[in-house]
Structure formats: C-alpha cells, structure tokens
C-alpha cells in the first residue's frame, strides 16, 4: 500500500503544513467540491493544522445528498411494486424521501437489496427471470460509466426484466452554477479527483479561465488535500488563476475516453433538479430513447407522489457552501445518522455525517 501510505505520511504533512503556515495568507475561502475530500478533511482533522485564515467550504459533491427528493419518492414507489426487486447502492437506502425511506419499506416487506455494483443487479435479473429488477443509478461521472455499461450488458444478453431509474448528475454545471450565484465568494476550488479521472481536466481549465479562479484537481489523502491547499494559496497570493493537476498519478488532461464514450452511448444530457440546489441546466443524464425499454420511468406506472422537504433542514445552504453543518439547529440533536432529517446526514459522503462522525476533540464538553 505504499501508493497510499506516502500520501498519509506525517513527515510530508508537516513539511506541507510548514509551507502553508509560512505564507502570509489573507482570509480566503477554498471549496473542496467532493464529499470524499470533505471526509478526509474531517477524518484527519486537517483544520487543526491550517492557519485560521483558510476557510474550507464544503461543496455539493455528495452524490447521495443531491439526489432529488422526488426521485427518492419514485424509487420508494417502485420498490413497493409487486414482483419487483429494487436494488441500490447502500447509502440510498437510508435517505429520507417525503414520508419514507427505502430501508423502511424494506423493513415493511418490500424486496430492496443493497448492491455494490450494477453488475450485481444484472446477476439478480438473470437469476430471477420471474421478477423485475430495478437498479437506482445515481451519482456523478464516476458511477455513470458502470451504470451505462450495465444497460449495454442487459441489451447484449437480451435481458427483459432489468430496468434502470436514472438520476445521474454532472459536476461541471453544478460548479458553474455555484460560481454564477454570487452568494458566496470562493477564492479557489479543489476539483474532485475521481470525477476528473473520467472527465479529464479541460472543463476545469475553462472554468478557471472564465471565472478567474484557481482550480486544483486534487486527490483524497491528507497530503493530496494539503498540496491542493498550498497550490491554491500560492495562486491566490500571486493573483493567478490556472488549473493545476495535483492528482497526476490518476488524472489526465483528456480523462478516460472509453468511459466517456460508454456514458454518452447510453445517456444523454438533460436538465436536472438537484436536491437542495434546485434545477441546474444540462446537469443530468437521462437514458437515450433507443434504450427506453430499460428505463424504469418509462416502463412502470409511478404513483404520483407529492414531495415535500423538511423545512428545518438547511441542506441546500450546506451544499452551496453557505453554511456549515453545525450551523444547523437540528445538527446532532434532532438530526443524527440514526434519525436523519436531511440527506447530508445519511450519506457516507455527506458533510453533516462527516461532522457528526469525526467530531473534533475541542468539541468535547
């Protein structure tokens, strides 16, 4: 595991921290876009090492959190249908819909199964020809290739009992919409390494150019994040706004072309509502017409559900970086991972869950 260990090395961390501390940084806001990066920051309590002037803002990069509540309600309605095996990645099961969660309807008898990959759903479809298998495809550019591949496999193997409920979203339009909104002043962005593995770094270049903001494509280990912060801080100090690839060991300029091809052979771009963020133009992926016989939305009658969010949850502001989880009045009192009110408390990539699970020692009373 040398590959990882060297990015968790205490010595390297110290050198980077000294370098960051030695810069004379004015108050700045750096947004890490990806939920996994938020988790590393909290899990290693990196803020303990950073100058107070650096304010880390947590971005919208939790795929579970941004799945619209309407989609969750649709999923729940589908899961309760006769002869359906509803499959999903684990975190989706606990996400609260308007009234229910998939986990609760599972406890009431619906056949809901947690899977690790869409190929598990394909396997279930082959093993259960008398059932209809629905896979809830959520996530960013990172999960889209495998989700698309499952539809291609289903077509190739002539499966007629496999369906996909697609709630795939794209990161670049969401980042743009945050930068357009002007609600918060961001001085630099740490772009999500995993997403860039698929997409490449071109879109980051376009955004840094257009919005005059430094972007560092960053990995997920403490050394990665500190390097990302150091690169950002130096750019801010010297008034530069380039895209720098810190995560070179994985990310290339063009990204994974094969994965991109797979995504767009099955999905096409559409407008999508993001939970907490509202509609973002051209930010979603829907199943192309030629694959419509695998599209759950087109093949099942979905009971019309009126969706409503719990008004007390400030997830929208958290996902936009306007507030932090502990600014929420419900945080760790009425809202915990056991009894979540909003999505960011449920998902293992959610900011509220990160704050809850990795509390800092100074928060002990």
């Amino acid at each position: 595991m040398k590959f990882l260990d060297e990015y968790r090395d205490a010595e390297k961390v110290k050198i980077l921290v000294d370098q960051i501390q030695s810069l004379n940084i004015p108050p700045i806001n750096i947004m890490e876009v990806c939920g996994s990066q938020t988790h590393t920051i909290l899990k290693y309590n990196l803020e303990e090492l950073l100058p107070a002037n650096i304010n880390l803002i947590h971005g919208p990069g939790c795929p579970v959190c941004v799945t619209p509540i309407g989609m969750i309600d649709k999923a729940i309605s589908l899961a309760q249908k006769k002869d359906v095996i509803f499959t999903s990645y684990g975190d989706m099961l606990r996400i609260p819909g308007s009234k229910n969660s998939l986990m609760k309807v599972k406890a009431s008898g619906a056949d809901v199964r947690m899977i690790y990959s869409p190929l598990d759903a394909i396997r279930l479809a082959k093993e259960n020809p008398d059932k209809k298998i629905i896979f809830f495809a959520i996530g960013f550019e990172t999960t889209a290739p495998a989700n698309a591949a499952s539809i291609l496999t289903a077509k190739k193997t002539k499966l007629t009992n496999f369906f996909v409920l697609s709630s795939q979203v794209l990161i670049p339009p969401a980042v743009q919409s945050l930068l357009d909104s002007d609600l918060i002043k961001l001085n630099a962005l740490l772009a999500p390494g995993h997403v860039c593995t698929v997409t490449g770094t071109k879109w980051c270049g376009e955004i840094s150019n257009h919005y005059k903001i430094p972007i560092t494509v960053t990995g997920f280990e403490p050394v990665d994040i500190l390097e990302g912060i150091l690169i950002s801080a130096k750019q801010i100090l010297s008034n530069e706004h380039d895209t720098v690839n810190q995560y070179k060991r994985v990310v290339t300029k063009d990204g994974n072309l094969k994965a991109q091809e797979t995504i767009y052979s099955v999905f096409e771009i559409c407008h999508r509502n993001w939970r907490g963020l509202g509609e973002i133009k051209n930010s979603g992926l829907r199943i192309r017409n030629e694959f419509s016989h695998f599209d759950a939305e087109k093949n099942f009658e979905i009971n019309s559900v009126t969706t409503n969010e719990d008004e007390r949850c400030i997830a929208g502001e958290i996902l936009q970086g306007l507030k932090k989880p502990n600014d929420c009045k419900l945080f760790s009192k009425d809202c915990t991972p056991t009894k979540p009110v909003g999505a960011p408390m449920v998902s293992s990539e959610g900011a509220c869950a990160a704050y809850f699970n990795y509390r800092k020692v100074n928060e002990l009373v």
Partner: protein, 345 residues
C-alpha cells in the same frame, strides 16, 4: 412536530437492520427494551457474559446467536464461529470455558451433508477449546422463513477466584494492548458474501482465545479488562469500555495493524477498519508496569504474535475515545450509529 420537540432516538416502529449492527442503535435497543424489562444487577453490567457465585464457585455464563451469511467463508464457517464466539465471550470474563449448548434453527430443504459438515467442524472446534457441547435443540422452519441455518450457543465456565475483569477496574495510565491485525473477519465475510474478488483471498481470523487468556492471566495479575472486538469492531469495544469506566482513552492509529489485502479492500469500499468485526482478537487493559512483559508473552502465542500497545487511559476526555491520526492530529472516535456502507463516489 416543531423545532422545540426533539425526536426521541428510538422512535422506530419496526426493527431495522441497523438495530443489529453493534452500533449505538443496538445499544439503545438493549438498554430501552431488554435491560429495562429484565432489569437485574448482573444484566446491568452488560459484560460479554454474566459472572456470579453459586455455592462459593465463581461462574461465567453467556449466550450468542450466529446468523452469518454466507455460512462458509474463507477461514471458517458458521459452526466453528458459534463455538469460538461463545468460548471467547467466556474467556473475556476471565473464565475457563467448560460446557456449551447448541441450538439449531434450520430452514426446510437444507442439505443434510452441509449440516453434517457444520456439526463436524463444531466438534473439532470444541475439542480444540477443551469444551464439551452437552445440550441442544433443533427446530426446522418452513422454506423461506429462515436463512439456511441459524445457530445459538450458550456457554458456562469457571472464573478463578482471584480474577476480576470489569471496566470499572480501568485506571488512568492503563496501557491498551491489541492482539493483532484488525478487520479480517468482517472483510472476509463481506467479500465472500458479495463476491468481491480481491487479489488475494482474505481469511477470517476466527479462533479460540481461551488459551491465550489463560497465559495472559498467569503473566499479569493486573489485567483490568478484556474484550474481543467483534461486531462494531475495535471502535465499538473501546467506546463501550470508555463509557462504562467513565475513562478517557487515546489510541494511536499508527500502532493499529492491518493486513495489506484487508487495507486495500477497505480503501476500495470506503470502509473504516476500526468499525469492522474481528473474531479472533482481543484488547486488554493492563497497568503500565505489566504492559511490556505481557506484550512479550502474548507475542509468543501464534494468535497474538502481532500484539501491540495501541493506546492508554488518560485523565482527559472522560467517557470518550480519542484517535491520534496517522498525521498526528486528534479527533473523537465515536460509536457509529448505523452499519457502514461502501462509498459511491
């Protein structure tokens, strides 16, 4: 419901899977339903087993049910696990395990040959621990009403007079020894269940700890508490001790060992090994003076050759476990509320 009306945490109408995960929901269920109803001093101690006196003999008694899926996994099977699990619970009380019971709930249609295989491995396991299975029960449920086979074992053992293991003995300065690598069992079962193909096969660490404990108790009279970090992993066991002893615990992440393949699997799935089950490891709280000599003896035992001092009891952070991370920062290592799930992003 308005903002001033806190939602009680156990306000669940139905049992969820998370109630059995070993996290804080399990704890609440035990507290609010079982302890509240059965209410007695021995139960309230919430040890791995109950220790009590009958006619001047100190006895330990414990029970456990095994519902593992798949029933055969790399490094073991449900039968072996059912014997070692109960033997280990007795050993954690400082008892010499003597007799076990074994109850089977079997689903209609279960292969006779598989049952025979499981029972044979239970016999081998019992011989290895020097215990006898002296009573039992069998129920068969309709197909679809159970998942292949469930096994319950109960066990009884004798605790030497001078042995007294309990979180209430834990003192500031105590060293915490962990007997080896963590998360092997949980990851082995997960990879077998979900057909996750990792480069090398990850084996469960399932093993009986009674001999190791016997040696440890001979080496040091100052062992304060023992625990086998099963469900909920190392984090859950340490939290339980910290909270019952009202002690502050610091553990050092760089001292906690992981097999490379287990570490790789955890990375891939986004799981924290500190919360993953073990079936052949123990943690021991011992006075600082005895820690080194105990460590040396433990390392001579094949089940504990990777023993390490991973932390200590401190004067601050009462009731909490604090993790000193690999990079030297500190954070609270909490009890997880729900089972960990693999990441998506």
């Amino acid at each position: 419901m308005n903002m001033d009306c806190p939602i009680p945490e156990n306000e669940f109408e139905k049992i969820l899977l998370a109630h059995g995960s070993g996290g804080s929901l399990t704890g609440k269920l035990i507290q609010d339903i079982f302890i509240k109803s059965f209410n007695n001093d021995l139960l309230a101690k919430e040890h791995d087993g109950a220790v009590f006196n009958i006619d001047g003999k100190k006895l330990a008694f414990t029970t456990d049910s095994f519902v593992v899926n798949p029933i055969f996994f790399p490094g073991g099977n449900i039968g072996e696990l059912a014997v070692y699990g109960t033997v280990n619970d007795l050993a954690m009380c400082g008892a010499k395990p003597l007799y076990l019971s074994a109850s089977f709930i079997i689903e209609e249609g279960f292969e006779m040959e598989t049952l025979q295989q499981i029972v044979a491995s239970m016999k081998t396991a019992a011989d290895k621990c020097n215990v006898q299975i002296i009573t039992g029960d069998t129920k068969v449920v309709e197909k679809g009403k159970g998942d292949k086979i469930f096994i319950n074992t109960s066990g009884i053992g004798i605790v030497p007079d001078e042995v007294d293991l309990s979180p209430s003995n834990v003192k500031e300065g105590d060293k915490i020894i962990l007997s080896g690598t963590i998360a092997d069992h949980g990851i082995a079962v997960l990879s077998a269940r979900e057909n996750l193909a990792f480069q090398s096969e990850i084996k469960s660490d399932t093993a009986p700890l009674n001999d190791l404990v016997e040696v440890m108790l001979k080496v040091s009279k100052n062992i304060h508490v023992l625990r086998d970090p099963t469900r909920g992993g190392l984090a859950a066991s340490l939290n339980e001790i910290a909270s019952k002893a009202a002690a502050g615990i610091i553990i050092h992440q760089d001292k906690i060992k992981l097999k490379n393949e287990v570490k790789a699997a955890c990375e891939l799935l986004g799981l924290d090994p500190l919360y993953i089950a073990n079936e052949g490891k123990l943690i021991c709280f011992v006075t600082p003076d005895d820690a080194e000599k105990l460590l040396i003896e433990m390392r001579k035992n094949s089940l504990a050759k990777n023993s390490e001092i991973i932390g200590e009891v401190v004067n601050e952070y009462k009731g909490k476990v604090v993790l000193k991370t690999l990079i030297g920062t500190k954070r609270i290592l909490d009890l997880h509320t729900v089972e960990q799930l693999p990441r998506i992003c």
